[in-house]
Amino acid sequence: MSDWQPSALQVERLAYRRRRTIRSGLIAGISTVLLVALAVAGIGSTPGWPRVRETFFDLDRGWEALPTVAQGLWLNIRVMLVCAVLIVILGMTLAIMRTLRGPVFFPLRMFAAAYTDVFRGLPLLLVIFLLGFGVPALQLRGLPNEAVIWGGAALVLTYSSYVAEVFRAGIESVHPSQRAAARSLGLSHRQTLRFVVLPQAVRRVMPPLLNDFVSLQKDSGLIAVLGVIDAIRAAQLETAEDFNFTPYVVAGLLFVALTIPLTRLTDWVARRQGWYGGGGGPV
Protein backbone atom coordinates (compact mmCIF):
# COMPACT_ATOMS: atom_id res chain seq x y z
CA MET A 1 0.00 0.00 0.00
CA SER A 2 2.59 2.55 1.09
CA ASP A 3 5.08 1.96 -1.73
CA TRP A 4 2.42 1.83 -4.43
CA GLN A 5 3.26 4.01 -7.44
CA PRO A 6 0.72 4.41 -10.21
CA SER A 7 1.74 2.52 -13.33
CA ALA A 8 2.51 4.38 -16.55
CA LEU A 9 -0.86 3.20 -17.84
CA GLN A 10 -2.71 4.65 -14.83
CA VAL A 11 -0.76 7.95 -15.08
CA GLU A 12 -1.83 8.23 -18.69
CA ARG A 13 -5.48 7.45 -17.74
CA LEU A 14 -5.47 10.11 -15.02
CA ALA A 15 -4.05 12.69 -17.43
CA TYR A 16 -6.73 11.80 -19.95
CA ARG A 17 -9.49 12.13 -17.35
CA ARG A 18 -8.07 15.50 -16.25
CA ARG A 19 -8.11 16.78 -19.83
CA ARG A 20 -11.71 15.59 -20.20
CA THR A 21 -12.75 17.37 -17.00
CA ILE A 22 -11.21 20.66 -18.11
CA ARG A 23 -12.80 20.35 -21.53
CA SER A 24 -16.26 19.62 -20.02
CA GLY A 25 -15.93 22.61 -17.71
CA LEU A 26 -15.06 24.89 -20.62
CA ILE A 27 -17.98 23.66 -22.73
CA ALA A 28 -20.41 24.07 -19.82
CA GLY A 29 -19.15 27.60 -19.17
CA ILE A 30 -19.36 28.72 -22.78
CA SER A 31 -22.83 27.25 -23.35
CA THR A 32 -24.16 28.84 -20.15
CA VAL A 33 -22.79 32.27 -21.04
CA LEU A 34 -24.22 32.00 -24.55
CA LEU A 35 -27.64 30.91 -23.36
CA VAL A 36 -27.89 33.63 -20.70
CA ALA A 37 -26.71 36.26 -23.21
CA LEU A 38 -29.35 35.08 -25.69
CA ALA A 39 -32.11 35.15 -23.06
CA VAL A 40 -31.14 38.63 -21.85
CA ALA A 41 -30.86 39.95 -25.38
CA GLY A 42 -34.14 38.29 -26.34
CA ILE A 43 -36.18 39.58 -23.42
CA GLY A 44 -34.41 42.96 -23.43
CA SER A 45 -35.27 43.57 -27.06
CA THR A 46 -39.04 43.04 -26.58
CA PRO A 47 -41.00 46.28 -26.94
CA GLY A 48 -42.54 46.05 -23.46
CA TRP A 49 -39.31 45.30 -21.55
CA PRO A 50 -38.50 48.83 -20.30
CA ARG A 51 -41.99 49.04 -18.79
CA VAL A 52 -41.79 45.54 -17.27
CA ARG A 53 -38.38 46.26 -15.78
CA GLU A 54 -39.75 49.40 -14.19
CA THR A 55 -42.83 47.65 -12.73
CA PHE A 56 -41.33 44.35 -11.60
CA PHE A 57 -37.61 44.88 -11.12
CA ASP A 58 -37.31 48.32 -9.57
CA LEU A 59 -34.31 47.91 -7.25
CA ASP A 60 -35.08 50.93 -5.08
CA ARG A 61 -38.71 49.95 -4.68
CA GLY A 62 -37.71 46.39 -3.83
CA TRP A 63 -35.25 47.54 -1.19
CA GLU A 64 -37.89 49.77 0.30
CA ALA A 65 -40.46 46.97 0.48
CA LEU A 66 -38.03 44.39 1.90
CA PRO A 67 -38.51 45.10 5.66
CA THR A 68 -42.32 44.89 5.46
CA VAL A 69 -42.30 41.76 3.31
CA ALA A 70 -39.65 40.13 5.52
CA GLN A 71 -41.80 40.88 8.56
CA GLY A 72 -44.67 39.12 6.79
CA LEU A 73 -42.38 36.19 6.05
CA TRP A 74 -41.69 35.79 9.77
CA LEU A 75 -45.39 35.00 10.16
CA ASN A 76 -45.10 32.38 7.38
CA ILE A 77 -42.18 30.80 9.20
CA ARG A 78 -44.04 30.63 12.50
CA VAL A 79 -47.17 29.22 10.86
CA MET A 80 -45.04 26.66 9.03
CA LEU A 81 -43.20 25.50 12.16
CA VAL A 82 -46.33 25.08 14.27
CA CYS A 83 -48.22 23.40 11.43
CA ALA A 84 -45.32 21.00 10.70
CA VAL A 85 -45.42 19.65 14.25
CA LEU A 86 -49.20 19.19 14.18
CA ILE A 87 -49.05 17.63 10.71
CA VAL A 88 -46.51 15.02 11.80
CA ILE A 89 -48.63 14.07 14.83
CA LEU A 90 -51.92 13.94 12.93
CA GLY A 91 -50.39 12.25 9.88
CA MET A 92 -48.75 9.55 11.99
CA THR A 93 -51.98 8.97 13.92
CA LEU A 94 -53.93 8.55 10.68
CA ALA A 95 -51.31 6.21 9.22
CA ILE A 96 -51.38 4.01 12.34
CA MET A 97 -55.19 4.03 12.29
CA ARG A 98 -55.13 2.65 8.75
CA THR A 99 -52.83 -0.21 9.73
CA LEU A 100 -54.85 -1.35 12.77
CA ARG A 101 -56.30 -4.83 12.49
CA GLY A 102 -59.38 -6.40 13.96
CA PRO A 103 -63.09 -5.67 13.69
CA VAL A 104 -63.07 -3.25 16.65
CA PHE A 105 -61.00 -0.79 14.69
CA PHE A 106 -63.12 -0.90 11.56
CA PRO A 107 -64.62 2.59 12.14
CA LEU A 108 -61.15 4.04 12.75
CA ARG A 109 -59.80 2.48 9.57
CA MET A 110 -62.79 3.78 7.62
CA PHE A 111 -62.44 7.24 9.10
CA ALA A 112 -58.74 7.44 8.26
CA ALA A 113 -59.33 6.22 4.72
CA ALA A 114 -62.19 8.67 4.16
CA TYR A 115 -60.17 11.50 5.67
CA THR A 116 -57.20 10.99 3.37
CA ASP A 117 -59.50 10.63 0.36
CA VAL A 118 -61.35 13.87 1.10
CA PHE A 119 -58.43 16.09 2.04
CA ARG A 120 -56.17 14.91 -0.74
CA GLY A 121 -58.95 15.62 -3.18
CA LEU A 122 -59.99 19.05 -1.90
CA PRO A 123 -57.93 21.95 -3.29
CA LEU A 124 -56.00 23.57 -0.44
CA LEU A 125 -57.29 27.02 -1.38
CA LEU A 126 -60.86 25.78 -1.01
CA VAL A 127 -60.17 24.34 2.46
CA ILE A 128 -58.64 27.68 3.47
CA PHE A 129 -61.72 29.55 2.27
CA LEU A 130 -64.13 27.11 3.91
CA LEU A 131 -62.39 27.18 7.28
CA GLY A 132 -61.22 30.78 7.21
CA PHE A 133 -64.54 32.34 6.25
CA GLY A 134 -66.95 29.54 7.17
CA VAL A 135 -66.05 28.72 10.77
CA PRO A 136 -65.92 32.29 12.12
CA ALA A 137 -69.27 32.93 10.40
CA LEU A 138 -70.80 30.21 12.58
CA GLN A 139 -70.19 32.59 15.51
CA LEU A 140 -69.52 29.71 17.86
CA ARG A 141 -68.47 30.81 21.27
CA GLY A 142 -65.18 29.51 22.62
CA LEU A 143 -63.64 29.12 19.17
CA PRO A 144 -60.97 31.58 18.05
CA ASN A 145 -61.82 33.88 15.21
CA GLU A 146 -58.34 34.82 14.03
CA ALA A 147 -57.85 34.11 10.36
CA VAL A 148 -54.30 32.87 10.90
CA ILE A 149 -55.50 30.04 13.14
CA TRP A 150 -58.09 28.82 10.65
CA GLY A 151 -55.66 29.20 7.78
CA GLY A 152 -53.17 27.12 9.73
CA ALA A 153 -55.88 24.56 10.51
CA ALA A 154 -56.58 24.24 6.77
CA LEU A 155 -52.88 23.62 6.12
CA VAL A 156 -52.77 21.00 8.87
CA LEU A 157 -55.90 19.20 7.62
CA THR A 158 -54.74 19.06 4.02
CA TYR A 159 -51.09 18.29 4.60
CA SER A 160 -51.69 15.63 7.25
CA SER A 161 -53.60 13.61 4.65
CA TYR A 162 -50.52 13.62 2.40
CA VAL A 163 -48.14 12.94 5.26
CA ALA A 164 -50.37 10.10 6.49
CA GLU A 165 -50.00 8.41 3.11
CA VAL A 166 -46.24 8.91 3.19
CA PHE A 167 -46.06 7.30 6.64
CA ARG A 168 -48.37 4.48 5.55
CA ALA A 169 -46.20 3.77 2.54
CA GLY A 170 -43.22 3.61 4.90
CA ILE A 171 -44.99 1.26 7.30
CA GLU A 172 -46.00 -1.05 4.48
CA SER A 173 -42.51 -1.00 2.96
CA VAL A 174 -41.05 -2.75 6.01
CA HIS A 175 -40.66 -6.38 4.98
CA PRO A 176 -43.11 -8.88 6.55
CA SER A 177 -40.14 -10.94 7.75
CA GLN A 178 -39.34 -8.11 10.16
CA ARG A 179 -42.79 -8.42 11.72
CA ALA A 180 -42.43 -12.20 11.79
CA ALA A 181 -39.09 -11.89 13.60
CA ALA A 182 -40.55 -9.46 16.14
CA ARG A 183 -43.71 -11.48 16.76
CA SER A 184 -41.68 -14.69 17.06
CA LEU A 185 -39.83 -13.10 19.99
CA GLY A 186 -43.18 -12.61 21.70
CA LEU A 187 -43.63 -8.90 20.96
CA SER A 188 -47.28 -7.89 20.62
CA HIS A 189 -48.69 -6.25 17.51
CA ARG A 190 -48.38 -2.86 19.21
CA GLN A 191 -44.81 -3.43 20.42
CA THR A 192 -43.83 -4.67 16.96
CA LEU A 193 -45.20 -1.48 15.42
CA ARG A 194 -43.50 0.73 17.97
CA PHE A 195 -40.07 -0.86 18.28
CA VAL A 196 -39.54 -2.56 14.92
CA VAL A 197 -41.79 -1.21 12.15
CA LEU A 198 -42.15 2.52 12.85
CA PRO A 199 -38.44 3.29 13.44
CA GLN A 200 -37.59 1.70 10.09
CA ALA A 201 -40.59 3.25 8.33
CA VAL A 202 -39.86 6.81 9.49
CA ARG A 203 -36.21 6.59 8.47
CA ARG A 204 -37.20 5.32 5.07
CA VAL A 205 -39.71 8.07 4.31
CA MET A 206 -37.60 11.01 5.54
CA PRO A 207 -36.89 12.35 2.01
CA PRO A 208 -40.53 12.43 0.80
CA LEU A 209 -41.56 13.79 4.20
CA LEU A 210 -39.08 16.67 4.00
CA ASN A 211 -40.23 17.25 0.45
CA ASP A 212 -43.77 17.79 1.74
CA PHE A 213 -42.41 20.32 4.23
CA VAL A 214 -40.63 22.25 1.49
CA SER A 215 -44.02 22.43 -0.18
CA LEU A 216 -45.66 23.49 3.10
CA GLN A 217 -43.22 26.38 3.47
CA LYS A 218 -44.45 28.03 0.31
CA ASP A 219 -48.10 26.99 0.66
CA SER A 220 -48.15 28.80 4.00
CA GLY A 221 -48.36 31.89 1.74
CA LEU A 222 -51.87 30.88 0.67
CA ILE A 223 -53.34 32.01 3.99
CA ALA A 224 -52.83 35.53 2.60
CA VAL A 225 -56.27 35.14 0.97
CA LEU A 226 -57.80 35.38 4.44
CA GLY A 227 -56.28 38.83 4.89
CA VAL A 228 -53.52 37.64 7.22
CA ILE A 229 -50.49 39.90 6.81
CA ASP A 230 -47.94 37.33 5.71
CA ALA A 231 -45.20 37.92 3.13
CA ILE A 232 -47.56 37.75 0.16
CA ARG A 233 -50.24 39.95 1.70
CA ALA A 234 -47.59 42.44 2.81
CA ALA A 235 -46.27 42.57 -0.74
CA GLN A 236 -49.81 43.06 -2.02
CA LEU A 237 -50.35 46.01 0.31
CA GLU A 238 -47.05 47.53 -0.78
CA THR A 239 -48.04 47.07 -4.40
CA ALA A 240 -51.37 48.76 -3.86
CA GLU A 241 -49.58 52.02 -2.98
CA ASP A 242 -48.12 52.70 -6.41
CA PHE A 243 -48.94 49.75 -8.68
CA ASN A 244 -45.31 48.73 -8.76
CA PHE A 245 -45.14 44.91 -8.56
CA THR A 246 -41.54 44.64 -7.38
CA PRO A 247 -42.65 43.70 -3.80
CA TYR A 248 -44.13 40.48 -5.24
CA VAL A 249 -40.77 39.62 -6.74
CA VAL A 250 -39.15 40.35 -3.38
CA ALA A 251 -41.62 38.01 -1.65
CA GLY A 252 -40.94 35.33 -4.26
CA LEU A 253 -37.18 35.60 -3.75
CA LEU A 254 -37.61 35.38 0.03
CA PHE A 255 -39.73 32.22 -0.31
CA VAL A 256 -37.12 30.63 -2.55
CA ALA A 257 -34.37 31.58 -0.09
CA LEU A 258 -36.47 30.07 2.72
CA THR A 259 -37.05 26.74 0.99
CA ILE A 260 -33.53 26.20 -0.39
CA PRO A 261 -31.94 25.07 2.92
CA LEU A 262 -34.67 22.47 3.48
CA THR A 263 -34.44 21.37 -0.16
CA ARG A 264 -30.69 20.82 0.19
CA LEU A 265 -31.22 18.97 3.48
CA THR A 266 -33.75 16.72 1.74
CA ASP A 267 -31.26 15.98 -1.04
CA TRP A 268 -28.56 15.25 1.50
CA VAL A 269 -30.72 12.87 3.54
CA ALA A 270 -31.93 11.15 0.38
CA ARG A 271 -28.42 10.69 -0.98
CA ARG A 272 -27.17 9.38 2.35
CA GLN A 273 -29.94 6.78 2.31
CA GLY A 274 -29.15 5.82 -1.26
CA TRP A 275 -32.40 7.14 -2.76
CA TYR A 276 -30.54 8.36 -5.79
CA GLY A 277 -27.02 8.15 -7.08
CA GLY A 278 -26.53 5.59 -4.34
CA GLY A 279 -24.90 2.90 -6.43
CA GLY A 280 -21.96 5.02 -7.49
CA GLY A 281 -19.55 3.45 -9.94
CA PRO A 282 -18.89 4.54 -13.50
CA VAL A 283 -22.46 4.06 -14.73
Partner: protein, 247 residues
Protein backbone atom coordinates in the same frame (compact mmCIF):
# COMPACT_ATOMS: atom_id res chain seq x y z
CA UNK B 1 -45.04 -36.99 27.30
CA UNK B 2 -43.32 -35.28 24.42
CA UNK B 3 -42.30 -31.64 24.68
CA UNK B 4 -43.79 -30.99 21.27
CA UNK B 5 -46.54 -33.09 19.78
CA UNK B 6 -47.90 -32.43 16.31
CA UNK B 7 -51.11 -34.30 15.43
CA UNK B 8 -52.90 -34.24 12.08
CA UNK B 9 -51.80 -30.73 11.18
CA UNK B 10 -53.14 -29.43 7.89
CA UNK B 11 -52.18 -26.16 6.25
CA UNK B 12 -53.19 -24.91 2.83
CA UNK B 13 -52.39 -21.76 0.90
CA UNK B 14 -55.28 -21.44 -1.52
CA UNK B 15 -55.48 -24.66 -3.50
CA UNK B 16 -51.97 -25.64 -2.44
CA UNK B 17 -52.01 -28.23 0.36
CA UNK B 18 -48.69 -27.72 2.13
CA UNK B 19 -49.22 -29.86 5.22
CA UNK B 20 -51.59 -32.78 4.90
CA UNK B 21 -52.30 -34.44 8.23
CA UNK B 22 -48.82 -34.08 9.69
CA UNK B 23 -47.76 -36.05 12.82
CA UNK B 24 -44.47 -35.66 14.66
CA UNK B 25 -43.17 -35.84 18.24
CA UNK B 26 -40.16 -34.03 19.64
CA UNK B 27 -38.95 -35.18 23.07
CA UNK B 28 -37.34 -32.98 25.68
CA UNK B 29 -33.66 -32.42 24.74
CA UNK B 30 -34.08 -34.09 21.38
CA UNK B 31 -32.75 -32.77 18.09
CA UNK B 32 -35.10 -33.53 15.22
CA UNK B 33 -34.03 -32.74 11.67
CA UNK B 34 -36.56 -32.21 8.88
CA UNK B 35 -35.36 -32.95 5.36
CA UNK B 36 -37.16 -32.90 2.05
CA UNK B 37 -37.37 -31.10 -1.26
CA UNK B 38 -38.20 -27.42 -1.56
CA UNK B 39 -41.93 -26.95 -1.11
CA UNK B 40 -42.35 -30.14 0.90
CA UNK B 41 -43.64 -28.09 3.84
CA UNK B 42 -40.61 -27.92 6.17
CA UNK B 43 -40.64 -24.14 6.68
CA UNK B 44 -44.43 -24.03 6.91
CA UNK B 45 -44.34 -26.63 9.68
CA UNK B 46 -41.88 -24.50 11.69
CA UNK B 47 -43.97 -21.37 11.11
CA UNK B 48 -47.08 -23.23 12.30
CA UNK B 49 -45.31 -24.39 15.47
CA UNK B 50 -44.30 -20.77 16.14
CA UNK B 51 -47.87 -19.58 15.42
CA UNK B 52 -46.68 -17.38 12.58
CA UNK B 53 -49.23 -19.32 10.52
CA UNK B 54 -52.65 -20.52 11.64
CA UNK B 55 -53.22 -24.23 11.04
CA UNK B 56 -56.29 -25.29 9.05
CA UNK B 57 -56.77 -28.41 11.15
CA UNK B 58 -55.01 -30.59 13.72
CA UNK B 59 -53.40 -29.93 17.07
CA UNK B 60 -49.94 -28.79 18.16
CA UNK B 61 -49.18 -29.32 21.83
CA UNK B 62 -46.23 -27.76 23.59
CA UNK B 63 -45.62 -29.07 27.10
CA UNK B 64 -49.09 -30.55 27.10
CA UNK B 65 -50.89 -27.31 26.16
CA UNK B 66 -52.76 -26.99 22.90
CA UNK B 67 -51.10 -23.94 21.32
CA UNK B 68 -53.31 -24.08 18.22
CA UNK B 69 -56.35 -23.19 20.38
CA UNK B 70 -57.48 -19.76 19.15
CA UNK B 71 -58.09 -18.78 22.79
CA UNK B 72 -54.43 -19.37 23.66
CA UNK B 73 -52.23 -16.30 24.28
CA UNK B 74 -50.16 -16.41 21.10
CA UNK B 75 -47.65 -13.74 22.17
CA UNK B 76 -46.90 -15.66 25.37
CA UNK B 77 -46.48 -18.96 23.52
CA UNK B 78 -44.20 -17.39 20.91
CA UNK B 79 -42.06 -15.87 23.64
CA UNK B 80 -41.29 -19.40 24.86
CA UNK B 81 -40.20 -20.65 21.44
CA UNK B 82 -37.11 -19.41 19.62
CA UNK B 83 -36.99 -19.32 15.84
CA UNK B 84 -34.06 -18.53 13.57
CA UNK B 85 -34.78 -17.70 9.94
CA UNK B 86 -32.88 -18.42 6.75
CA UNK B 87 -32.51 -14.68 6.05
CA UNK B 88 -31.52 -13.80 9.69
CA UNK B 89 -34.23 -11.07 9.96
CA UNK B 90 -32.20 -8.99 12.40
CA UNK B 91 -33.65 -5.53 13.03
CA UNK B 92 -31.47 -3.28 10.84
CA UNK B 93 -32.10 -0.08 12.83
CA UNK B 94 -30.87 -1.60 16.11
CA UNK B 95 -27.37 -2.57 17.18
CA UNK B 96 -26.60 -6.25 17.71
CA UNK B 97 -26.90 -5.71 21.47
CA UNK B 98 -30.28 -3.97 21.15
CA UNK B 99 -31.49 -6.76 18.87
CA UNK B 100 -30.69 -9.24 21.61
CA UNK B 101 -32.09 -7.20 24.52
CA UNK B 102 -35.36 -6.12 22.82
CA UNK B 103 -37.45 -9.15 23.81
CA UNK B 104 -35.98 -9.57 27.34
CA UNK B 105 -36.74 -5.92 28.16
CA UNK B 106 -40.08 -5.49 26.38
CA UNK B 107 -41.59 -8.97 26.64
CA UNK B 108 -40.00 -10.63 29.66
CA UNK B 109 -39.72 -7.49 31.77
CA UNK B 110 -36.02 -7.98 32.54
CA UNK B 111 -34.31 -4.87 33.94
CA UNK B 112 -32.26 -3.02 31.33
CA UNK B 113 -28.86 -3.55 33.01
CA UNK B 114 -29.59 -7.22 33.70
CA UNK B 115 -30.77 -7.75 30.11
CA UNK B 116 -27.61 -6.06 28.87
CA UNK B 117 -25.38 -8.29 30.96
CA UNK B 118 -27.25 -11.42 29.84
CA UNK B 119 -27.09 -10.32 26.21
CA UNK B 120 -23.35 -9.68 26.39
CA UNK B 121 -22.86 -13.09 27.94
CA UNK B 122 -24.89 -14.67 25.14
CA UNK B 123 -22.98 -12.69 22.49
CA UNK B 124 -19.76 -13.86 24.06
CA UNK B 125 -20.99 -17.42 23.74
CA UNK B 126 -21.66 -17.02 20.01
CA UNK B 127 -18.34 -15.20 19.62
CA UNK B 128 -19.77 -11.77 18.82
CA UNK B 129 -19.19 -9.77 21.98
CA UNK B 130 -16.86 -7.35 20.19
CA UNK B 131 -19.63 -6.68 17.63
CA UNK B 132 -22.23 -5.77 20.27
CA UNK B 133 -22.31 -2.11 19.21
CA UNK B 134 -22.34 -2.80 15.46
CA UNK B 135 -25.38 -2.58 13.21
CA UNK B 136 -26.40 -5.80 11.43
CA UNK B 137 -25.31 -4.54 8.00
CA UNK B 138 -21.72 -4.22 9.27
CA UNK B 139 -21.64 -7.97 9.95
CA UNK B 140 -20.90 -10.91 7.65
CA UNK B 141 -23.69 -13.38 6.91
CA UNK B 142 -22.34 -15.90 9.38
CA UNK B 143 -22.03 -13.25 12.10
CA UNK B 144 -25.57 -12.04 11.44
CA UNK B 145 -26.90 -15.57 11.73
CA UNK B 146 -25.01 -16.11 14.99
CA UNK B 147 -26.46 -12.84 16.30
CA UNK B 148 -29.95 -14.06 15.31
CA UNK B 149 -29.32 -17.30 17.20
CA UNK B 150 -28.22 -15.31 20.25
CA UNK B 151 -31.36 -13.16 19.98
CA UNK B 152 -33.52 -16.28 20.13
CA UNK B 153 -31.45 -18.11 22.77
CA UNK B 154 -31.32 -15.25 25.26
CA UNK B 155 -34.98 -15.82 26.12
CA UNK B 156 -34.20 -19.41 27.24
CA UNK B 157 -36.81 -20.93 24.91
CA UNK B 158 -38.20 -24.39 25.61
CA UNK B 159 -37.78 -25.16 21.94
CA UNK B 160 -35.56 -23.79 19.19
CA UNK B 161 -36.79 -23.82 15.59
CA UNK B 162 -34.10 -23.43 12.94
CA UNK B 163 -35.27 -22.79 9.40
CA UNK B 164 -32.48 -23.46 6.86
CA UNK B 165 -30.18 -21.27 8.90
CA UNK B 166 -27.14 -21.89 6.69
CA UNK B 167 -28.81 -21.75 3.27
CA UNK B 168 -28.06 -18.07 2.67
CA UNK B 169 -24.44 -18.32 3.78
CA UNK B 170 -21.24 -18.57 1.75
CA UNK B 171 -19.74 -22.07 2.08
CA UNK B 172 -16.84 -20.88 4.24
CA UNK B 173 -19.26 -19.26 6.72
CA UNK B 174 -21.52 -22.31 7.11
CA UNK B 175 -19.03 -24.00 9.46
CA UNK B 176 -19.10 -21.29 12.14
CA UNK B 177 -22.89 -21.50 12.40
CA UNK B 178 -22.97 -25.32 12.42
CA UNK B 179 -20.30 -25.32 15.16
CA UNK B 180 -22.60 -23.17 17.25
CA UNK B 181 -25.54 -25.51 16.67
CA UNK B 182 -23.36 -28.46 17.74
CA UNK B 183 -22.74 -26.65 21.03
CA UNK B 184 -26.46 -26.06 21.52
CA UNK B 185 -27.05 -29.76 20.92
CA UNK B 186 -24.36 -30.58 23.49
CA UNK B 187 -26.14 -28.28 25.97
CA UNK B 188 -29.29 -30.37 25.56
CA UNK B 189 -31.43 -27.68 23.92
CA UNK B 190 -34.49 -29.12 22.21
CA UNK B 191 -34.29 -28.30 18.52
CA UNK B 192 -36.42 -28.76 15.46
CA UNK B 193 -34.27 -28.04 12.43
CA UNK B 194 -34.88 -28.01 8.74
CA UNK B 195 -31.74 -28.14 6.65
CA UNK B 196 -30.15 -29.25 3.41
CA UNK B 197 -26.85 -30.00 5.20
CA UNK B 198 -27.12 -33.80 5.19
CA UNK B 199 -23.78 -34.53 6.83
CA UNK B 200 -24.69 -32.14 9.63
CA UNK B 201 -28.09 -33.82 9.95
CA UNK B 202 -26.44 -37.22 10.26
CA UNK B 203 -24.11 -35.89 12.94
CA UNK B 204 -26.49 -34.00 15.26
CA UNK B 205 -29.92 -35.52 14.67
CA UNK B 206 -31.49 -37.90 17.16
CA UNK B 207 -34.28 -38.36 14.66
CA UNK B 208 -34.60 -37.50 10.98
CA UNK B 209 -37.94 -36.85 9.34
CA UNK B 210 -38.28 -36.92 5.57
CA UNK B 211 -41.18 -34.78 4.33
CA UNK B 212 -42.96 -35.53 1.11
CA UNK B 213 -46.08 -33.69 -0.10
CA UNK B 214 -46.85 -32.40 3.35
CA UNK B 215 -46.52 -35.71 5.19
CA UNK B 216 -43.74 -37.29 7.27
CA UNK B 217 -42.96 -40.08 4.85
CA UNK B 218 -40.08 -41.63 6.77
CA UNK B 219 -39.06 -40.97 10.39
CA UNK B 220 -36.21 -42.67 12.19
CA UNK B 221 -32.65 -42.46 13.46
CA UNK B 222 -30.26 -40.73 11.02
CA UNK B 223 -28.29 -43.93 10.45
CA UNK B 224 -31.39 -45.58 9.08
CA UNK B 225 -33.18 -42.75 7.19
CA UNK B 226 -30.07 -41.28 5.62
CA UNK B 227 -28.02 -44.45 5.06
CA UNK B 228 -30.63 -47.12 4.53
CA UNK B 229 -33.97 -45.49 3.61
CA UNK B 230 -36.94 -47.81 3.26
CA UNK B 231 -39.05 -45.50 1.14
CA UNK B 232 -38.25 -45.18 -2.58
CA UNK B 233 -39.05 -41.42 -2.40
CA UNK B 234 -36.48 -40.91 0.34
CA UNK B 235 -33.90 -42.83 -1.69
CA UNK B 236 -34.69 -40.72 -4.74
CA UNK B 237 -34.34 -37.47 -2.75
CA UNK B 238 -31.05 -38.55 -1.18
CA UNK B 239 -29.58 -39.67 -4.50
CA UNK B 240 -30.36 -36.24 -5.95
CA UNK B 241 -28.62 -34.65 -2.97
CA UNK B 242 -25.60 -36.92 -3.45
CA UNK B 243 -25.45 -36.04 -7.15
CA UNK B 244 -25.37 -32.35 -6.29
CA UNK B 245 -22.41 -33.10 -4.01
CA UNK B 246 -24.00 -32.22 -0.69
CA UNK B 247 -23.68 -35.51 1.15
Amino acid sequence: MSLLSIRGVRKTFGANVVLDGFDLDVEQGECVVLIGASGSGKSTLLRCVNLLETVDDGVIELDGTDITDPRADADRIRSGIGIVFQSYNLFPHLTVLDNVTLAPIRVHGVRRDVARAQALEMLDRVGLVEKAGAKPDELSGGQQQRAAIARALVNSPKLMLLDEVTSALDPELVGEVLDLLRELKADGITMLICTHEMSFAREVADKVCFLHHGRPLEVGPPGQVLADPKEPRTREFLSRIIKSGRL
